[in-house]
Amino acid sequence: MTLQAQLDALLPLGLGASNTGLPPYEIDTACLPAADHAALLAEFAHHRGVALAWPEQALISPRELITLLAPLREAGADSAFALGQLLLPGHYGLASQALLQAGSLADMLQCLCRHAGRLTPLLTPRLLIDEQELILVWTDACGLPAGLRGFIVDLHMSAVASLCAWRAGRRLPWRFSFDRTAPRDRAQHAVHLGTALHFGCQVDAMRLTRAEADVRWAATPGMASTALARHADPQALRRGLLASLGDRLLRQLAEPPSLEVLAAELGVSPATFKRRLARHGTHYQAEVDRVRAHVAVYLLGPRGQGRDTVAQALGYFDGANFRRSFKRWTGMAPGAWALG
């Protein structure tokens, strides 16, 4: 099976989003009810004695949510993990209900990925289940300030790990990869996430073997997922601008569509599209490179494929060219690569 065929099979299972016809939300789109996230953050801030300005309007944008989160990073060394425990299933209406109605780990994670627009609007999780592993990769929904990225990634990983542990009745043996250098002190990560921590990876991901991922629990089935699939809560199905761009690029990996084509699909001029990406702290080539780097790292690492096979799958005619690109994306030679 070709790489694209494999990806196409994985996309509807949580790797990407099905095309719902809903426009993506942007960093400044006011699309999140303040009562959802802000109420939870306010409770935590109060508990930690941190002042939090309650948003005035009923709907807030991802940027405003980030602004609310920023002061909480200073609310103790464990703030990302303690707050993470509160984040999911959360009180986000149907999407939270759907999470609780899932009866197995794979179902619950698929539900999370499908409704990320409501459950985790800042970071979009992508689920990848192959013969050996279950991998949950965290990607930007609509960009994050570099200084807060580590905190927000920890927050989301802790939220999912804690939710899974709660539903499974025991802690799952997740292995964690982080796209940043190791912190001075790993104690917080080790206690709250587990000791299988790998820093300096190219992706933020959580992994389980297939055998470890086969976890089921008693859940009361319900109609929340069905209702959501019928657009009962459109925001749940919406993707962030960068996440939706990632979905699009994954569908055409070897020959990525040009900036002009993507702009035309969104019904805007190339210049407007460029400006829009710039507002999210990125540009077209950076996003293409990121998606390809993620796929290359996956194929070289967990899949254990050879350099030449990966080069071919990504549409490179010769290995030397791929090697140069990979070096540019990751700062490492593909041969030296292992996901950890």
């Binding site: 930690r48 804690s162 709660w166 001075r184 002190d185």
Partner: protein, 300 residues
């Protein structure tokens, strides 16, 4: 013209509280009055006569003493120690100020009060020394309260908000120190089973109270020379200096039993008990203290 009326509530206030509240205004008044006295009674020196190094050195001294005064008053509760420290620093400040002023204005030879005021500097130093002596006594009492929470060194940045214990980094330093002393010792890690569930179902407040109760229980059950730190989350770590493996096992069992006896208060009045886990290692070894602690965590 507005008249200054003292509010009725001030009239009955104890003297030491009045002094506390009106300290800065009074000090500012004294310093301005002195400046005014120099400006009216003295003769302004021509710039050529100024000794710039003296002006800067004496003015700078006065400024620094002022800064120390603000810090000391800002960081200490009122009491005997603070009174002596404040009096000493204030006297030094006035003395230094006069010293700096007579670099700028020349007073008639007949006036000697400025020399008398300059003598405040050594008197202030004396008062400051008395204050430091009392401070040392106070610190001994406080250190007894902090026994089992810190050893040899202090790092306030490492202290946890909930349990008032130091963190994993502090413990790693102490293990390194213990290795340097060449004594045989043990490190013990303790934690609860299902604490995350307690947090999720009972809330953050209940979890914090449980951690506080656990830390106090451990402190009561430790030997005086032991050190307790909060590793992270519900994981506590104890340094047992001068302790062989058999003794370590015994202490570990005792502490485990003490924690297992704890009843936590749930949200709706229910009482909860959680199973306790423990892991023990010798402090000696070639691996880094951080890795030793991670191994302990994994063994838990």
């Amino acid at each position: 013209m507005t008249r200054l009326i003292l509010p009725a509530s001030l009239a009955n206030r104890p003297l030491n509280l009045l002094v506390r509240d009106f300290f800065y205004p009074a000090l500012a008044l004294v310093l301005s009055a002195l400046t005014l006295a120099f400006a009216t009674l003295g003769e302004f020196k021509a710039l050529a006569e100024w000794h710039w190094t003296d002006v800067l050195a004496e003015g700078g001294m006065a400024l620094m003493v002022g800064v120390w005064l603000v810090y000391v008053r800002g960081s200490r509760p009122a009491g005997r120690v603070t009174t002596w420290l404040t009096l000493g620093l204030a006297a030094m400040l006035v003395g230094e100020w006069v010293d700096a002023l007579d670099e700028v204005w020349r007073l008639p030879k007949a006036m000697v009060w400025d020399n008398a005021l300059e003598a405040l500097t050594p008197l202030g130093m004396l008062a400051l020394t008395v204050g430091l002596h009392f401070w040392r006594q106070e610190q001994r009492v406080l250190s007894r309260q902090l026994a089992q929470r810190e050893r040899f060194t202090r790092d306030h940045r490492a202290v946890d908000r909930v349990t008032q214990l130091a963190d994993a980094g502090y413990m790693a330093e102490q293990i390194q120190l213990e290795r340097g002393l060449g004594r045989a010792g043990c490190v013990l890690m303790l934690g609860f089973d299902g604490f995350d569930r307690l947090t999720r179902e009972q809330g953050l407040q209940a979890a914090d109270r449980a951690l506080e109760a656990a830390s106090l229980t451990l402190l009561l059950n430790l030997r005086p020379q032991d050190l307790l730190c909060r590793y992270a989350g519900d994981r506590f770590v104890v340094l047992l200096p001068d302790c062989n493996a058999a003794e370590g096992e015994r202490l570990a069992d005792e502490l485990k039993a003490a924690l297992a006896q704890l009843n936590f208060n749930g949200r709706d009045g229910q009482r909860l008990r959680l199973p306790v886990r423990a892991a023990l290692r010798a402090t000696a070894g070639t691996q880094s203290p951080e890795q030793l602690l991670l191994d302990l965590l994994q063994a838990l």
